[in-house]
Subunit: 285 residues, 2 copies
C-alpha cells in the first residue's frame, strides 16, 4: 500500500505521538528568511543547500580564464630529447598545477619563440580572450627578452616592473582593460615564488575567496645572512613551530621547492638572522 495515496491510517502504537518523525513546513528555512549571506564561498554544504532549495543557477564571482604564455627558444617539451643549449619546459606544468590546486581549471597554454612578431600575436590574442595572462620569461633585459617590447606595442599599462626581492626580481605587473597580466621571471623557483606572493592574491581579489598563503611565526634553525635592500623568500620546511631552510636556494632550482612546505621571509632591512630567532613563514596550500 502506498501511504501517499491513502487518505486515513489508524495508529495502534500508543508510543507514537503526533508530529514525531514529521518535518514541519519551513523547518529547514522559512519563507522570506535569508538563506545564505552574500559572498559566501561555495563549499560542498553550500552547494548542497542551494540544490535542496531547488536553486540551479546563481550569480558568482567566476574563476578567471587563464592563459599561460611560455617564451624561450631554448625550451623543449618533457619527454623529447635535449640538444645542446636546450632546457625542458617546466613552468607551464608548475603554473597549471598551482592553478588547478585552487580550483582554476580553464587554462590555455601557449608556447612562443623569442620572436617579437610571434610574441605580439600570441600576447594580443591571449589578452583579448582571457581574464588573467601569466607570461613565463622574457621580462629581464637580455637580447632575447621581447616580452616587454611586445606588451608595450600592445598598449598594455604597466603597474610596476621589478621588485626588491629574491627570487623574482624582474617581475612585471600590468593590465589591459579588464585583463590582469603578470610577467613572471623564467627561472622555475622565481615563477612559483611570484605565483604564491603575487598571482594568488590577484586571483583572491578576482574571485572574492581567501587564497593568500597562511602566515605563521617560526623559530629559525639555521643562521641566515643577506645584503640589505632586498626581501629574500627562501624555500623552507615548517614543523612544530620551527623552520629549516632548504638547500639549493638559487632561482633556477626547483628541487628545494619540491621538498619545502613554506616560504621563509627575510625582510629587506635585515642582514643577519640568528638561530633561534623568530621569522615569518608563508605555508603552501
Amino acid at each position: 500500500m502506498n501511504p501517499m495515496t491513502k487518505k486515513e491510517i489508524e495508529i495502534l502504537d500508543d508510543q507514537i505521538k503526533k508530529g514525531t518523525n514529521v518535518r514541519p513546513i519551513g523547518a529547514e528555512i522559512a519563507k522570506g528568511e535569508n538563506a545564505l549571506e552574500r559572498g559566501i564561498v561555495l563549499k560542498p554544504a553550500v552547494i548542497g543547500f542551494l540544490a535542496s532549495m531547488g536553486i540551479s543557477k546563481i550569480k558568482v564571482y567566476p574563476n578567471p580564464k587563464v592563459a599561460i604564455v611560455v617564451t624561450g627558444n631554448e625550451l623543449v617539451s618533457p619527454g623529447s630529447n635535449l640538444e645542446y643549449g636546450q632546457l625542458f619546459e617546466s613552468n607551464s606544468f608548475t603554473l597549471n598545477s598551482a592553478l588547478r590546486q585552487i580550483g582554476v581549471d580553464d587554462i590555455s597554454i601557449i608556447q612562443v619563440r623569442d620572436d617579437l612578431k610571434q610574441l605580439h600575436t600570441a600576447l594580443s590574442e591571449s589578452i583579448e580572450t582571457h581574464d588573467l595572462v601569466l607570461i613565463s620569461g622574457g621580462v629581464s633585459v637580455g637580447d632575447y627578452d621581447f616580452t616587454l617590447k611586445a606588451l608595450e606595442l600592445l598598449g598594455v599599462k604597466s603597474i610596476f616592473h621589478k621588485v626588491k626581492q629574491k627570487p623574482g626580481k624582474p617581475l612585471l605587473f600590468a593590465t589591459k582593460s579588464e585583463t590582469v597580466i603578470f610577467g613572471l621571471p623564467g627561472n622555475p623557483a622565481s615563477v612559483l615564488t611570484c605565483f604564491y606572493k603575487y598571482v594568488l592574491p590577484a586571483i583572491s581579489k578576482m574571485t572574492h575567496r581567501e587564497l593568500e598563503l597562511k602566515s605563521h611565526k617560526a623559530i629559525l634553525q639555521q643562521e641566515y645572512n643577506k645584503p640589505e635592500g632586498m626581501t629574500h623568500f627562501l624555500r623552507a620546511k615548517y614543523q612544530d613551530k620551527k623552520v629549516s631552510l632548504g638547500i639549493g636556494q638559487e632561482s633556477y632550482k626547483l628541487s628545494s621547492f619540491a621538498e619545502a612546505n613554506c616560504l621563509a621571509v627575510f625582510p629587506d632591512e635585515i642582514t643577519k638572522i640568528k638561530v633561534g630567532e623568530t621569522i615569518d613563514i608563508h605555508l603552501f596550500p
Copy 2:
C-alpha cells in the same frame, strides 16, 4: 651576434669572474642522485621539477573513479517544479563538490528509482566500472529501501552496517573485489558527515594522500546534553580556539552545515558537556 655560434669572446670588464652566472652541470641534481622520495605528493613544485628533468610519465596512485548513485522516487532535479511529496535532489551536488575539492574529478552521477531491478542493474554497472561507489539513500529499513537487497543480490561483501553515531547511523561499508562501496544515509547532513568521517579516510588510503580532517582542541561555548551510547557530530563554528554549536542539528538540515567550518565531537560515553570544557573538533577542508 648569436653567442651560441661564436667560438671566442674577449671580456673587457675585469669585474666578471670565471663561472659567474654559469650553472654548473649537475647543479640542480647530479647523475644517479635520488630526485624525489617515493610516495611524495604531486604538488606544483614536484610536477614542475619532474618536467624540468624531462619526465613526462610517472607511476602514481591514481584518484579513484567515483560513481554517485542517488536513490529515491521523491527526488527531482533543482530547477524543476516540486509536486506534493517531492524533494529536490541535493546529495549528488554535495558529494560531487566535496570530491572535486580534493581533486577527484572523474565522477559519474546516476539517479535510480526505488525499484529493485533498476537498482540492481545500476549498482552492478557502477561497481563494475568504478573504484569507489557512493550510494545516497536506501540503507535504512523502510519499505522502499532496496539498496541493501540489491547489494546482497550482487554478492557484495558487507564490512559493517550501522554505526553508533548521530547523524549517519544507517551507514553501510562494503566491498566487491577491488571496489569500495559506501551506503550513505539519504539525509543531507548525514551524507556530508559520513563523507568527511568515512569516505575521506578511504580516499586517503586509496591515494596515499593525507586527506583526513584536521583535528583541534576547542573550548565549548554552549552546554550540550545527549544520551549515552552514541557519538554525536555537531556542525559547529571554530574560531580562536573556541567552538560554537550551530543551530538546527537535525540530520535533514543542511543550512547549519553551510554556516559551519567544523564538526564538534561528543563521544558515546559522555552525556553532559559544560560551557568552558575542551572538546575535539574536525575542521572542514
